[in-house]
């Protein structure tokens, strides 16, 4: 680690801390800094809890902030790995079925539960639905990517093109089932509303278990970085070239695929469809000059967390109580940004 890396890490830490506190102070019920830190202390067992209502609000906001950080980092890291594996800077985790599978899983869970309104899971009513939906969508996201990977590698080695095509086909099937469920439940107000709400994504009402799921998957994916970063750099020259340099290409693809789908699935399962983080954050880092995966993958963790948390704080600050859900906000910010990137890198796109 050079001094520059230490300074960067420090900078990331401070920015994350400040944004996290800001995010916890913003919200429909007012909370001052003293209450916030008191409540935080109580959560860590260092202080007496605040009165019941205030303590509950603090806890909700803390989980929300942690969840946002974890989701942002997970999606960004996963996006970086997928782009490296596909050797294509326009790839994202949804290509291999993560988002589609998660949506389907959530829809199944909502059907089974017979409806779920995202804002009803405050204390008391908590319990089953708060965890059943993320659990089902996590499992379905993993199952879908596993299906894509299995079909693509049915005849020996999985080529990246096959993986891409199978991903598109499976995504289409999954989207068809999802649309069918939406259509068939159109008359059931609670169910159709819950399915629709899920597709917007939510960072509200997250609990400790949600955070733990995201952070655990993120930790596993992070541990895999040293095993794929140099390899993904060498893959830029093509699989055969990398192999001639000594890279075990099949193993690299396997590790990257498992890590990326694990972290993205957990993130999408817990927070719903939040597009563009996985696509845009690696680009942001490339624009800042860290084009090698040895740097990009590490940077994607704090930058992804900052990106999602920053966008969330910004829109809640601007829109107040009428805040949009993260999926909507990300599409509004991410869509134009992605277009900008496409126009900027037209040369690369044309050589696709």
């Amino acid at each position: 680690m050079t001094r520059r890396d230490v300074a960067l890490a420090l900078g990331y830490g401070i920015a994350l801390g400040v944004l996290a506190v800001l995010s916890m102070l913003l919200g429909s019920s007012s909370l001052d800094a003293q209450q916030l830190f008191g409540g935080l202390g109580a959560m860590l067992g260092l202080a007496e809890p605040l009165e019941r209502n205030a303590q509950a609000i603090v806890e909700l906001r803390v989980w929300r902030a942690i969840c946002t950080l974890g989701v942002g980092a997970s999606l960004a890291l996963s996006g970086g790995m997928i782009q490296g594996m596909f050797r294509n800077a326009l790839a994202s985790p949804s290509l291999i079925g993560v988002t589609g599978g998660a949506s389907l899983g959530a829809a199944f869970a909502i059907l089974a539960l017979g409806g779920y309104a995202p804002r009803l899971v405050l204390e008391g009513s908590g319990g089953l639905e708060a965890f059943a939906i993320p659990f089902c969508s996590f499992v379905m996201a993993l199952a879908t990517t596993a299906l894509v990977a299995t079909i693509a590698s049915a005849r020996g080695r999985a080529s990246v093109t096959t993986l891409l095509l199978v991903g598109i086909a499976v995504n289409m099937c999954v989207a068809g089932v999802f649309a069918a469920i939406q259509y068939l439940t159109l008359e059931e107000w609670e169910v159709s509303r819950a399915i629709l709400a899920w597709t917007f994504g939510t960072l509200d009402d997250r609990k400790g278990l949600h955070c733990a799921t995201v952070l655990l998957a993120l930790a596993l994916a992070t541990l895999s970085i040293p095993f794929v970063a140099r390899e993904l750099d060498l893959l830029k020259g093509g699989e055969e070239d990398a192999e001639s340099l000594g890279v075990d290409v099949a193993r690299t693809k396997r590790i990257a695929l498992v890590s990326a789908s694990l972290s993205a699935s957990a993130a999408v399962a817990v927070a719903g469809q939040i597009g563009f983080v996985g696509l845009v954050v690696p680009h942001l880092i490339r624009l800042c000059g860290a084009g090698s995966y040895r740097r990009l993958l590490w940077h994607s963790l704090p930058v992804g967390a900052l990106f999602l948390l920053g966008a969330d704080v910004l829109q809640r600050f601007l829109l107040g109580d009428g805040a949009l859900q993260p999926g909507v906000m990300m599409s509004l910010v991410g869509g134009p940004f992605f277009l900008f990137l496409l126009i900027r890198s037209r040369r690369e796109v044309s050589t696709w």
């Binding site: 020259g237 192999e243 340099l245 000594g246 075990d248 490339r286 090698s292 050589t351």
Partner: protein, 266 residues
């Protein structure tokens, strides 16, 4: 020290029933630059991929001093065989230094990173290929000639006893073509096994110790330059349009002869 790369009875097909290589035997020895020539589609690059262990033949063996190359792990192979590929993507965000260090992948410890010996190999590779001035730049900024030298530099930095080179002079001007072949001949003289796949018959003739001619997936001839640069050998392979001659120092050359077109009177 590695002495001999031996291929025996190599058969290879991309699609069932369509043999690209049909029983190729080839011996390469240390200190020799051998050129593999033949028309487009004769199987040259495929043979190179088989020799490098990057393509698995249907049957046949590739052995380096008696050790089977295809059964080695990629890392073990990379310590023994370096490949200069014909085509690489633009690599727009890869620095020359990182690219050449890629040649050291099999030797660099995952946790410790590049050591002094790797840095020295990087320097030596770039110096040997006359590419030290490129080191701080991105791969996509290089001219065709510089880029080709850097790609060879990576293979040199790999410090493998076998060097397999696929058409290193396409899109290079004559000056750069000569400098690449000079470099390959020098690398062979240093005690490596060097095989170069090429369409440049005349460069091959001037720099190689031996030439091998591949035609329709079979090795139809192998021998000294003088024995190969003959109409009896090359005309059946390349067709009737070749003109054979000798340079003023007596070395053979061959040029394609154009049929004269008569302007139609109208």
């Amino acid at each position: 020290m590695v002495e001999r790369l031996q291929a025996r009875g190599i058969r290879f097909a991309y699609a069932p029933g369509q043999l690209v290589l049909d029983g190729v035997d080839l011996d390469l020895s240390r200190g020799e630059l051998v050129s593999l020539v033949g028309p487009n589609g004769s199987g040259k690059s495929t043979l190179l991929r088989c020799l490098a262990g990057l393509a698995a033949p249907l049957s046949g063996t590739v052995e380096l001093d008696g050790q089977s190359l295809p059964s080695m792990s990629p890392q073990e192979r990379a310590l023994r065989v370096a490949v200069v590929p014909q085509l690489l993507p633009s690599l727009y965000d890869v620095l020359v230094e990182d690219f050449v260090l890629g040649g050291r992948y099999a030797r660099i410890d995952r946790w410790a990173g590049p050591k002094a010996s790797d840095r020295e190999a990087l320097e030596r590779g770039l110096a040997a290929c006359d590419a030290l001035d490129c080191r701080g730049r991105a791969m996509s900024e290089l001219s065709g000639g510089q880029r080709q030298r850097v790609v060879v530099a990576r293979a040199v930095a790999q410090e493998a006893p076998v060097l397999l080179v696929d058409e290193p002079t396409t899109s290079l001007d004559p000056e750069h073509q000569v400098s690449i072949f000079e470099l390959l001949a020098r690398l062979a003289c240093d005690g490596r096994i060097v095989l170069v796949v090429t369409h440049e018959l005349n460069l091959a003739a001037q720099f190689s110790a031996a030439m091998a001619v591949l035609h329709g997936g079979k090795l139809v001839a192998r021998g000294s330059v003088d024995a190969m640069m003959r109409s009896e050998v090359l005309t059946p392979v390349y067709g009737e349009r070749l003109h054979f001659g000798r340079m003023d120092d007596g070395r053979p050359f061959v040029v394609p002869r154009a049929r004269l077109l008569r302007r139609s009177q109208g």
